[in-house]
């Protein structure tokens, strides 16, 4: 039915859209056709049908640029609205253009907010968005927010406004309490997933609301319930009853107030689970020994592919998961302080593992075990048990080298260590050419290669050179401008770059800004890049989502120059203290393109240029 669409405008009389075919389209917003419509209308109708099949927002953005007709058709049919920077556009403007949105993805604060670099109250409030969408998108089904400030009142309004609401994902958000969760539980009758991941839930101890009890009685549609970040006890009886009446439940991640005894009961009620967050994974006083029961629960859960939790792991209980290991695709042990000996029996059973998060307490030896068994590993994250600069390094270049030799299909790695060598990083670049994400954090600032004393330039250079698909890179250790020249020269696919305590001069920044055409997100801290480097990116900033520079050498003059030359850039200067000296360096500068100019909700410590 769609073969000749988008073709010649002059031949529209040859074919028409049969009324039956029109009704067969799954997309109701296409105007129904009763009789032969005018040619323009036909084209637009057809276009709308075709565009249904375009789901990627990048493809849709491209399609909308073809001509006005395409712009309109695309705007009518876009169902998922992805906004990577909530300040790049206003709610009113987005709602005005896209009338049929069913799903919203909205991201707020810059990533460095995760590390306390963005003062409280900076912004990214969800309130204006939900207020605007409430009347405009009655059919909204899905909201996914990342690093936004979400108030309880927002959740209440959400729950009351969208009767078909199904999926709520909050990642790294803050501002809400269990009262907000209660509103969601109570009012969203079609709720399919409630995923709370790494949020800061802000209750007082004595004001915690029993939100789990608020789910309506009777069978629920719940497929996913993730609440491991909610730091308050839940009503276990209510949780148990909820799981019992949620036959579709596939993902359950509980918080660390759930002991193994309770976990057993939940698992027995939901043997169909695919993703399990195990909570505390220890016994509470007086509970007794649940090892046998737990082991049989894991044996019975044949669908389990993803395990996480282990917030207070009782080591005697770790063997109970052995029966499930062979099926595991994803295992997160990053809260469990285990040694290589404890890891061994687990990991040697995990032949199918693709995602593995672990603490560096397993040491290089543990990583060697991973490399020996997990031949299909795609993503590895090694977190530091002691996240300080002078802690004793538990993993090193040895572990990285082993991983590179054993896990050739590795696509993503985040590795915290105290020391590294260029040789190991080069080895990884040669062995793991599928790498998309390479994030190496040498925790001690300015650490060189610990064997040769050289800067880490060659290692990172090899990564960008050999891993042609690399899109995300985070660098650390002692780095000169050479490292950045490599990134600029070879990092042609790099979209996200994180820099800290690196480089010698403006040249470093210039290399990157002039050399990386796909660069979208650049975050830099504590590096000696100044105004000249900043201004060398003028040609590219409109193609980027944002640039963050803190504790560098840029000045107010430089920032103002950017603002002057790029009228659609919003340049924010964030101050922790009032500046006495106007010639001094900017503490924090955050700049991003925007269709709506400087925001009107900036707090006093943010200056908009």
């Amino acid at each position: 039915m769609l073969e000749n669409c988008g073709g010649d405008n002059g031949d529209d009389e040859r074919w028409s859209l049969h009324p039956d075919e029109a009704s067969q389209t799954k997309f109701r917003q296409v105007s129904s056709i009763v009789c032969m419509p005018p040619p323009d209308q036909v084209l637009e109708n057809v276009l709308e049908i075709v565009l249904c099949f375009l789901t990627s927002h990048r493809d849709r953005n491209a399609a909308s640029l073809v001509c006005k007709s395409w712009f309109r058709a695309e705007a009518q049919t876009r169902q998922e609205l992805f906004i990577g920077n909530c300040y790049a556009v206003s709610p009113a403007r987005a709602i005005d253009r896209f009338r049929g949105v069913r799903s919203l993805v909205l991201k707020g604060k810059p990533r460095f907010a995760d590390f306390n670099l963005v003062p409280l109250g900076w912004g990214a409030r969800f309130s204006p968005w939900v207020a605007g969408m409430s009347p405009a998108y009655p059919w909204l089904e899905r909201i996914c927010l990342k690093r936004m400030t979400v108030a309880d009142a927002d959740l209440v309004l959400l729950a009351r406004s969208f009767t078909s609401f199904r999926d709520l994902s909050l990642l790294s958000c803050d501002g809400f309490t269990t009262a907000g969760l209660a509103a969601i539980a109570e009012n969203c009758r079609r709720l399919r997933s409630l995923d709370l991941i790494e949020n800061d839930v802000e209750d007082d101890e004595d004001e915690v609301v029993d939100w789990v009890s608020r789910f309506p009685p009777g069978k629920t549609c719940l497929e996913s319930l993730v609440f491991d970040c909610v730091g308050f006890a839940v009503n276990f009886g209510a949780l148990e009853a909820l799981v019992a009446r949620s036959p579709r439940l596939r993902r359950l991640r509980v918080n660390d107030y759930i002991s193994v005894g309770r976990l057993c009961r939940l698992m027995s009620l939901a043997p169909q689970l695919t993703h399990l967050g195990t909570g505390s994974f220890s016994t509470f006083e007086g509970e007794g020994d649940f090892r046998a029961i737990l082991e049989s629960a894991f044996m019975a859960s044949k669908s389990l592919v993803c395990l996480s939790g282990y917030r207070n792991l009782a080591i005697d209980y770790l063997p109970t998961i052995y029966p499930a290991c062979a099926n595991l695709i994803s295992l997160n042990l990053s809260y469990a302080q285990i040694t290589a000996d404890m890891l061994g029996p687990v990991i040697t059973r995990c032949h199918n593992l693709q995602t593995f998060w672990v603490l560096d307490s397993v040491r290089d030896e543990g990583l060697q075990m991973v490399a020996a068994t997990c031949k299909n590993l795609r993503e590895l994250r090694v977190f530091p048990l002691d996240p300080t600069e002078d802690s004793e390094g538990s993993v090193s270049d040895i572990g990285l080298q082993a991983i590179s030799e054993g896990c050739k299909h590795l696509e993503s790695i985040l590795y915290f260590c105290q020391s590294m060598t260029n040789a190991a990083v080069v080895a990884m670049s040669n062995n793991c050419q599928d790498l998309l994400v390479f994030r190496l954090c040498i925790m001690g600032r300015h650490r060189p290669d610990h064997l040769t004393g050289e800067p880490m330039d060659e290692g990172f250079g090899a990564i960008v050179q050999n891993c042609k698909n690399l899109t995300r890179l985070a660098v650390s250790g002692l780095l000169t401008d050479n490292a950045f020249s490599y990134i600029g020269k070879y990092g042609k696919s790099v979209k996200t770059l994180s820099v800290a305590f690196a480089g010698n001069s403006d040249l470093g920044l210039r290399y990157v800004l002039e050399g990386c055409p796909k660069l979208q997100k650049l975050e830099i801290r504590d590096s000696p890049f100044g105004d000249a480097g900043l201004l060398s990116g003028i040609h590219h900033y409109y193609n980027m989502r944002f640039l963050w520079m803190s504790s560098c050498k840029i000045t107010l003059t430089g920032c103002k120059e950017v603002a002057r030359r790029l009228p659609h850039m919003v340049v924010e200067v964030i101050r922790d203290r009032p500046e006495d000296d106007s010639g001094s360096f900017m503490e924090k500068a955050y700049m991003y393109r925007s269709l709506v100019g400087p925001r009107n909700d900036a707090p006093p410590f943010v200056k908009l240029l």
Partner: protein, 329 residues
């Protein structure tokens, strides 16, 4: 571009002069590039036996750390915010450390001197770094892997003494893991019901209380066990909510340098001399001024904190507080 770089070079010599005056503290082959001074003092209190060669380094260390602690360690973070060459700052802090103590604990001890700002400097520093690396490798004693207890205590201390905000880039809920997981077995021996277990777990994790500032809808949580006295608490509170308080607050106190001026800045919250005052609610539900009771008692009874505007303070509850004081007398 060249002229701007030239200006920076003019600034650098001043910082280098500063360092050379501190020669007697600065031992040439000392490692380390950050300011864990308070952390080291804590380690001495733990009586760790990796002994430095002589005692004189310790005295100087104590002098420096007491000077710094009167200003609150957040000043270290602030001075890193100030726009000086980062590397030189690192060296300055480093100069206070006795060198063998540093070598006993850390393996990769070196610091580039200073942080390379221009290409020339960069080359020198990596050479110097190389030299240092070799020296410290030859001389350094590599400690055996510490047992779990030591790691725990060190991580507890390190978390409060790290001077650089947001580094390493690990989210706050990933800190304290060592403390949590190893304490559980002790806790479970003693705990009764689930609620008791949760409560004692809280007190072992570090005592988190919620803190709000008037006019700011979002609160934060602070770990009271992480601080030792009211000055530290006050400085952390100020830093946590900095920028949100009205600008006049900063103009009434001067925040330059360490010492007396800084002291005045930080007591603004505790003695009512600024525009805001720190109050807390205790386990009996009463509102109290922070600073009245001994620190340990405060930590054990405080349930939540609030930074209140002085105008609201006087009308609301000073009467009640005075009454409480009178009762206690």
């Amino acid at each position: 571009m060249e002229t701007e770089v030239g200006k920076k070079e003019d600034e650098l010599p001043q910082l280098l002069d500063l360092i050379s005056n501190e020669e007697d503290w600065f031992k040439g082959d000392v490692g380390r590039g950050d300011g864990h001074i308070l952390g080291d003092l804590e380690e001495e209190k733990l009586e760790l036996t990796l002994a430095p060669p002589g005692g004189e380094g310790r005295e100087k260390l104590e002098k420096l750390s007491s000077a710094l602690s009167s200003a609150g360690f957040s000043k270290i973070a602030n001075s890193l915010y100030k726009n000086t060459v980062v590397g030189a700052q690192l060296v300055f802090f480093d100069s206070a450390k006795p060198n063998a103590e540093a070598s006993g604990f850390q393996k990769d001890n070196f610091v580039p001197l200073p942080l390379p700002v221009t290409a020339n400097f960069g080359k020198e520093s990596s050479l110097e770094a190389n030299m240092r690396m070799n020296q410290s490798h030859e001389r350094g004693v590599h400690s055996a892997p510490e047992d779990g207890v030591l790691v725990k205590n060190r991580s507890q201390i390190r978390l409060t003494s790290s001077p650089v905000v947001g580094w390493p880039p690990v989210r706050s809920f990933r800190k304290n893991i060592a403390i949590n997981s190893s304490k559980i077995s002790d806790v479970l021996q003693n705990a009764g019901t689930l609620e008791n277990r949760l409560r004692s777990e809280t007190s072992n994790k570090g005592f988190f209380v919620k803190i709000n500032v008037d006019g700011i809808p979002i609160g934060r949580k602070l770990n009271l066990n992480a601080y030792e006295n009211y000055e530290m608490l006050s400085s952390v509170v100020e830093e946590l909510f900095c920028g949100l308080l009205s600008e006049s607050f900063y103009f009434t106190v001067s925040c330059t340098g360490m010492g007396e001026d800084a002291k005045r800045a930080f007591t603004g919250l505790l003695d009512g001399s600024g525009e805001y005052t720190l109050v807390y609610e205790d386990n009996e539900g009463d509102r109290m001024l922070v600073g009245d009771v001994p620190w340990d008692m405060f930590v054990s009874t405080a349930k939540r904190l609030r930074v209140m505007k002085n105008s609201e303070l006087s009308t609301l509850f000073l009467g009640a507080v005075n009454k409480k004081r009178a009762d206690e007398c």
